[in-house]
Amino acid sequence: MEAHAAEVHAHHGDHPPAANQSSRVHASVLGMLLFIASEVMLFGSFFTAYFFMRVVQDQAVPWHDQHHLPVFVAGINSAILLTSSVTMHWALQSIKRGNRVGLQAGLVLTFLMGLTFLLTQISEYARIGFAPHDDAFATIFFCLTGLHGLHVFVGLTLLAFATTRAFRGHYSPEHHHGVEIPGIYWHFVDVMWIVVYTTIYLI
């Protein structure tokens, strides 16, 4: 065993050998898959509670109809959030083509629209007319939309770092990983909002 270890060391000189990595799944892909799986389980638990509550309720007036949700305002907010994904995509495509102004403009617009979404949601919470402790529907409504809002906040934090770095001259057509990762996260947050908005507000 010692002879074998010495042989390995001699082969690599003073440097440690490259980390062994299974070729079945690339590490970054595996990491993203695990992250998404954990997020799906997190949101999934709340959706399960929501649908269970809707199916087993024995109210004369369904829970869903007892609360007047701001469907129109939330629809406008959804459009804002979806548009922010377009500007995020534009920002990344811009830096890939060497267009620094496009990157900066895209990131600023994405950040501002994300902030608008979050502030609008907070504003709606204040005016919605029911509180989390009122009943089961109210609890699950605030949990699901609040959990999503938390994700938007994390996304805005990542975007703030990316935007600051963009104005400091970071990123290039070859190196833009610092924009790519927040971009992936931002689109994931938008996907989750589509599911939340459709199930809670529309259906």
């Binding site: 062994n20 079945r24 898959l33 994904s85 995020m88 992936i184 689109h187 994931f188 589509i194 529309l202």
Partner: protein, 214 residues
């Protein structure tokens, strides 16, 4: 399967597909609740089928640099139940007859799926070790100096592990004949040739025929 969040562009595309899918579900649900459920189920099944049948970019072949002295040949032998087969022993002797050679015999500890998932591999490792000892003794009698190791239960993973720590110039994979070989059925030899940039020899060992001849 390709991860829909593997890049920003892929994630953006996935978002657009999600918007379209949920628009269809909403329209169907507004018309009739069960229609909405049906559209949801159909789209979900279609999406799962689409992603499962996608093929990602094949990984580049792993290069294996030469280890040890320039005139020394390193041979990795991967075999389990056929590790003591006469055909394999002859192939090893032929491969090592041209000069200095180091031989490493790896015997993957094959296990049942249930035992694998509950980490009950003691029996599989003991069986693999017994066959390995028998094979090393037989190689010693033929004048071939070899050492052995128990490898991962996945033969491809076992090869990859040894490429990292042994650096073979050639790999010999021994299997049962076509029809009785689980490894051949799984395409292990072809997969190994596609994945690793090292000469790979496939040896078929028919233990039943050898037993009849003996």
């Amino acid at each position: 399967m390709e991860n829909p969040f593997r890049s920003e562009a892929a994630a953006f595309q996935f978002l657009l597909v999600t918007v379209g899918a949920f628009a269809l579900i909403t329209i169907a649900a507004v018309l009739n609740t069960w229609a909405g459920v049906a559209v949801f189920v159909v789209l979900t099944v279609a999406a799962i089928g689409y992603y499962l049948h996608q093929r990602g970019q094949p990984a580049p072949r792993r290069e294996v640099p030469h280890w040890g002295e320039p005139d020394e040949k390193r041979i990795l032998v991967v075999a389990n139940e056929t590790v003591a087969g006469q055909g394999l022993l002859e192939e090893i002797r032929r491969a090592t007859s041209s000069g200095r050679a180091q031989v490493l015999v790896v015997s993957p500890a094959l296990n049942s799926p249930l035992r694998h998932w509950v980490s009950d591999e003691d029996g599989a490792r003991a069986s693999a070790q017994a066959r390995l000892d028998q094979s090393l003794q037989r190689l010693g009698e033929l004048g071939v100096a070899a050492r052995g190791e128990i490898g991962d239960s996945d033969p491809l993973q076992a090869i990859e592990d040894e490429l990292r720590t042994f650096g073979p110039d050639a790999v010999i994979i021994s299997t049962h004949p076509e029809g009785r070989s689980n490894w051949l059925e799984r395409g292990i030899v072809d997969e190994a040739r596609a994945r690793f940039d090292v000469p790979i020899t496939h040896v078929v060992v028919d233990l039943e025929a050898e037993a009849e001849q003996a």
